[in-house]
């Protein structure tokens, strides 16, 4: 069975920029894709040559893993274009050196797991705030939110995304689990819900603002359309 371009793109859409919390396909970070029989070539690009190399590495490594997960793909080459660490990252990928081996002496500890975990927590906090905000605007009170169980949350696309982030963190996603929890899974008491959300809103603003900024930079850098372009 030969893999199709659509299948590969589908797999790549499961790779997120950990910092912007959006798929690399939506962010237009996939600059090129070639499927030749069972071999796949992917080219990735980023908004600036100085985007953090650790996040860059994560996306390149995740993309390679995603492509290799497509049935029928036997080899995958993922190349990062135009980045200050492109030579190191691309060479590291070819030889499967891992992050530590790609940047010898520049890391501490073994992997990027801790960094990834930090941004998964942020993503969860942000998604939860967005959902709560919509519920409050729809007439729920903060008391009702504090008492809500997952099965009582109205189903929506935002809720699905929230659940996936929650699951990624390893938190309880059973029907009876409390809805408003911190990233460690502790239920937020009723009197603390508003303060919790106020602070969570900052996390969401950071992620959304950063995503907007990066989209604009990418659009400028590669002369592509920015969906959020200024309308003064």
């Amino acid at each position: 069975m030969k893999p199709t371009e659509a299948e590969v793109l589908g797999a790549l859409s499961g790779v997120r920029d950990p910092e912007l919390d959006e798929p690399i396909t939506d962010l237009k970070f996939v600059a090129g894709l070639r499927v030749a029989e069972d071999a796949v070539d992917v080219r990735l690009r980023l908004p600036t040559p100085f985007c953090a190399p650790n996040f860059a590495y994560l996306m390149v490594a995740d993309a390679k893993e995603a492509v290799l997960s497509v049935p029928g793909v036997r080899s995958a080459r993922v190349v990062l274009d135009d980045h200050h660490a492109s030579p190191e990252i691309n060479a590291g990928m070819v030889e499967d050196r891992g992050f530590e081996g790609t940047f010898p002496g520049e890391t501490e500890g073994e992997s990027l797991d801790e960094l990834r975990a930090i941004f998964r927590r942020k993503s969860f906090v942000s998604r939860q705030e967005k959902l709560c905000r919509a519920l409050l605007a729809g007439g729920y009170t903060s008391k009702e939110l504090a008492e809500m169980r997952l099965e009582e949350v109205p189903v929506s696309e935002a809720f699905e995304k929230y659940l996936s982030r929650r699951e990624e963190l390893g938190l309880d996603v059973s029907a009876e689990a409390p809805f408003v929890v911190d990233p460690d899974g502790n239920q937020i008491p009723e009197e603390a819900v508003v303060e919790h959300l106020r602070f969570a809103k900052l996390t969401r603003l950071s992620i959304e603002g950063n995503a907007g900024f990066c989209r604009g930079l990418l659009a400028t850098r590669y002369g592509i359309e920015d969906p959020e372009e200024a309308t003064p």
Binding site: E19, P47, T48, P49, F50, C51, A52, P53, N54, H84, F99, F103, G105, E106, T107, E108, G109, S111, L112, E114, L115, I118, K122, K130, R133, A134, L136, A137, V194, L197, R198, F199, K201, L202, T203, L205, S206, I207, E208, G209, N210, G212, F213, G216, L217, A219, T220, R221, E228, E229, A230, P232
Partner: protein, 345 residues
């Protein structure tokens, strides 16, 4: 000085540069990539009529700078932030020595911060002391992501950083501008993490820590620190230009800063020549929180804008403010009584 609708504003631009990013000065590919990155910021977030061609952006003249800041840009005093990057540029990108030439020529127009690099150790400490004396420095700009030989960055928690900050306290260098940016070792950590500012600000309560570009993209971490440390300030460089391209996002940033910090700890900055103060000042004075967000963030009054545009920075650097500019006491900041008023689009 800027005047609009009968209101006068003393303008301190908290972050301006006089750089040389030209090909002749680029030491390697990273020097090219760095100025390309700045040009990307410039192109992505400037109104079209303020866009420069690339070669002018790489290296502009003294006349350009004086014209853009003081002749048309309403700036009364500009704070000259150095960015050394000596690993990327033959003569450095934008050193204190280069800034000092203009400071000497126009002493009333500029505040001149210096810089230290804790990785320079003991010899650096002596050189820093000489620099403070030579230029009568009252501030420094630190770029923790700066490369230095094998090292790709440092933390304010480092023992040597503390030694340098002690020296600052001793010499009366009281304003510490901290700039966060990508690439910092260890590479598997978050390069924009502002947590090291927290520790430094607690350890040195007599120093002021101005976090440039308000810690973006880590606004929540910055606010968390600023709530706890009264000597932490928000520098608006890089956040300002969103006023044009993403005004609703800008409204939220300024609204959050007013809520978490209050109006006395926010400093206007253009980051010239990435952006120009003229349009930023004009748009900021005209700016209001969109109506549907006012329940959450309140409104911006001329007094709040006056503090952000100049009075707060004037306080930090003991600048003389003309008596015609009102100097308000504390004013009510954004309220945010009704979280959340409506979902943000």
């Amino acid at each position: 000085m800027y005047e609009k609708d009968g209101e006068k504003y003393f303008v301190v631009d908290g972050h301006v540069h006089y750089w040389d990013g030209s090909p002749e000065n680029q030491a390697n590919i990273h020097g090219k990539q760095f100025i390309d990155c700045f040009y990307g910021y410039h192109s992505a977030l400037s109104p079209e009529e303020y866009l420069w061609p690339e070669d002018k952006f790489q290296k502009y003249s003294e006349e350009d700078l004086m014209h853009d800041l003081f002749e048309i840009g309403y700036v009364d005093v500009a704070i000259f932030q150095p960015t050394y990057l000596e690993d990327f540029y033959v003569n450095g990108f934008n050193t204190t020595a280069r800034n000092a030439i203009l400071k000497e020529k126009y002493p009333d127009k500029f505040v001149l911060p210096g810089r230290f690099d804790p990785r320079d150790g003991e010899p650096g400490l002596e050189a820093f002391e000489e620099m403070v004396e030579q230029y009568d420095l009252k501030g420094v700009k630190l770029y923790t992501a700066e490369w230095n030989g094998q090292s790709k960055g440092y933390s304010l928690k480092d023992e040597w950083a503390k030694r340098y900050l002690e020296k600052c306290e001793e010499l009366g260098v009281k304003n510490i501008h901290v700039h966060k940016g990508p690439t910092i070792t260890p590479l598997n950590k978050d390069a924009f993490d502002v947590a090291d500012v927290d520790e430094a600000a607690s350890l040195f309560p007599n120093l002021n820590f101005i976090v440039e570009h308000v810690g973006l993209p880590r606004l929540e971490d910055f606010c968390w620190i600023a709530v706890q440390e009264a000597n932490v300030y928000a520098g608006m460089a890089v956040a300002m230009p969103f006023i044009y391209s993403r005004p609703r996002y800008f409204a939220q940033i300024i609204g959050e800063l007013l809520y978490w910090l209050d109006e006395d700890r926010i400093l206007f900055a253009s980051d010239y020549a990435i952006w120009q103060p003229k349009w930023l000042v004009e748009m900021f004075v005209d700016f209001q929180i969109p109506e549907d967000m006012q329940g959450e963030y309140g409104t911006l009054t001329p007094d709040i804008k006056r503090k952000i545009l100049g009075l707060n920075a004037a306080n930090l650097y003991d600048l003389d403010v003309p008596s015609e500019v009102p100097q308000p006491d504390a004013v009510a900041a954004g309220a945010e009584d009704n979280y959340p008023e409506a979902p943000i689009r």
